[in-house]
Amino acid sequence: MNISEIKSKIESALPGVSVKIVSQSLLVEKPGNLTRVVRYLKDSPEFRMDYLASVTGADYLDYLESVYHLYSMAKKTGPIVLRVRVRRDEPKIPSLARIYRGAEFQEREAYDLFGILYENHPDLRRLFLWEGFEGFPLRKDYLQEDSEILEAEDIQWLEEHGIPIPEDIRKQAHELKQQGLRALAQKPTKESGV
């Protein structure tokens, strides 16, 4: 079954739902419709997409995206790739964890690293990073500490352990500390992919 057939089947079975074909995958235009589409794909005897292989996020600078790879274990077919796009400032997507248990950890991971809020998730906490971690590291605008610039505390520690530090580096770190900044560097931004 090719992708446009799947699209027309979904649209005829679910009135009011519109999907778009984006690079061999189906973009569900309204995030709120995602659960309906997934339930249809899972329950209809034609598809029987009972296995959610992978859930992940992606950042395209203008919007955040959540990508789902669905397979059928019963019919040994697949994948059907679904994607949902949301605004960066309000990244709310309905959770699939109540339909597929397998989405539970994967959605927590995407929340942890991208900050996508999966609504109605049973336990949406950070998965890998600790509580109170600021920011979402896989977003492209996440500022990372620059390992080339030492912080004032690092310099103090190194000097206590007898490692000589060049004067200009010490001065730079001191200045940053005076400004109340930690050593940060701007990451270059790339152009959007798909």
């Binding site: 296995y51 597929y100 397998g102 950890f105």
Partner: protein, 385 residues
């Protein structure tokens, strides 16, 4: 167990209290730095909450800042027991993305390496499971004796025992010599005898049976719903093996069967792994018969070996998956036409197979939680990424 905190919920002296036990992260039975918060009623488990991230290094972000070729050595460090399988999945995903052909000999070498890795993984996992059961180190050392021979082969072929970094886009890094193939033939020939001995030691052992049978039963519908893959899924009786379903690489040329369990308990997971090793030996025998001299890497891809920055896959995305010894190992790649991947995601079987940990453990004794965890087979390098 590291710490015990008693939560006093009621002042009535006749009331029973639940005990919250923090299991891990520094505990040998967690196979790394994995932590579980277990709530116990007496010795029976009431709830299990896994806590992970102690080995988190944001593998995906590291990869997004590197060239495609430079990610390969990092994939070794995901599931550090099966670096060849990790390489395989990543190479497959990139080849799908950039539409690279792989020559026949390279395909054979890949299959041989992947199946040897499966032997290494399953034999050690069974050893560790027995360690968790209390059979202290005898089965592990028998397993490691066999693993050692295979790791020697990996060292001779790829240069490193565990961090192989052997696969390249469109082939493999170096050719396998006839002497190495002869050595592999010898190992494969002797492996069934070792398995017979291993089984004589374990399979009908009454203690093993009593500890493992009917413990941590995973019903097939829950297994499918929770996206469980690999031997854990097949032990529950669901016939799903990506080698058969996707027929990636050249797996359609080999005849092998997929062992299935009927109950889905710890014992089935143990026995499915034993049977899978026997099937792997069959695949290896056929592959070693079928391998012919030829190119070990596609001539078009050799130019990228010297200049990784010139390797720019066309704009698009790909999801490549392989049946790693732990389950479905998937790589999701998005290319924006630059030498670095825009998005790189690893679908790690260790993490997703843990979804059902609580369902398996609740109602069993605390000692069973450890063998259930051991039978799921997690590797923290892959789980935490």
């Amino acid at each position: 167990m590291d710490e015990k905190t008693v939560t006093v919920q009621d002042t009535n002296p006749m009331d029973t209290e639940t005990l919250e036990v923090n299991f891990g992260p520094q505990h040998p039975s967690t196979h790394g730095v994995f932590r579980m918060n277990i709530v116990l009623d007496g010795e029976t488990i009431v709830s299990v909450k896994p806590v992970m991230g102690y080995l988190h290094r944001n593998h995906e972000q590291i990869a997004e800042n590197l060239t495609y070729a430079a990610v390969m050595p990092y994939t070794d460090r995901l599931d550090y027991f099966n670096s060849m399988a990790n390489n395989f999945g990543y190479a497959l995903a990139v080849e799908k993305l950039a539409r690279i052909e792989v020559p026949e000999r390279a395909q054979y070498i890949r299959v041989i390496m992947a199946e040897l890795t499966r032997l290494v993984n399953h034999v050690s996992v069974i050893g560790f499971l027995l360690n968790d059961l209390g059979a202290f180190f005898t089965p592990v050392l028998y397993a490691f004796r066999e693993r050692e021979k295979i790791l020697d082969i990996f060292e001779a072929i790829s240069g490193s025992r565990m961090m192989c970094n052997y696969f390249r886009f469109g082939g493999v890094k170096r050719d396998v010599s006839d002497a190495d193939l002869e050595q592999i033939r010898k190992i494969v020939q002797k492996f069934p005898a070792f398995l017979d001995e291993f089984e004589a030691l374990l399979t009908k052992n009454e203690i093993l049976c009593m500890r493992c049978q009917n413990v941590g039963v995973l019903p097939p519908d829950l297994a499918v719903n929770a996206s469980i893959t690999g031997p854990v899924l097949r032990a529950s009786g669901v016939n799903y093996d990506i080698r058969k379903v996707d027929r990636y690489s050249i797996y359609e040329r080999f005849s092998f069967r997929i062992p299935l369990g009927d109950k889905g308990d710890v014992y089935d997971r143990y026995y499915v792994r034993i049977l899978e090793m026997r099937e792997s030996v069959k695949i290896l025998e056929q592959a070693l018969k079928g391998i012919r001299p030829g190119e070990f890497i596609h001539p078009k891809s050799t130019s990228f070996l010297k200049l990784p920055r010139n390797f720019k896959p066309p704009v698009g995305e790909a999801y490549g998956r392989v049946e790693s010894p732990k389950g479905e190992l998937g790589y999701y790649l998005v290319s924006d036409g630059t030498p670095q991947p825009w998005r790189y995601h690893v679908r790690s079987p260790s993490l997703i197979n843990l979804t059902v940990l609580e369902d398996l453990c609740v109602g069993h004794k605390v000692a069973d939680a450890i063998i259930i965890l051991g039978s799921i087979d997690i590797i923290l390098g892959e789980l935490d990424r």
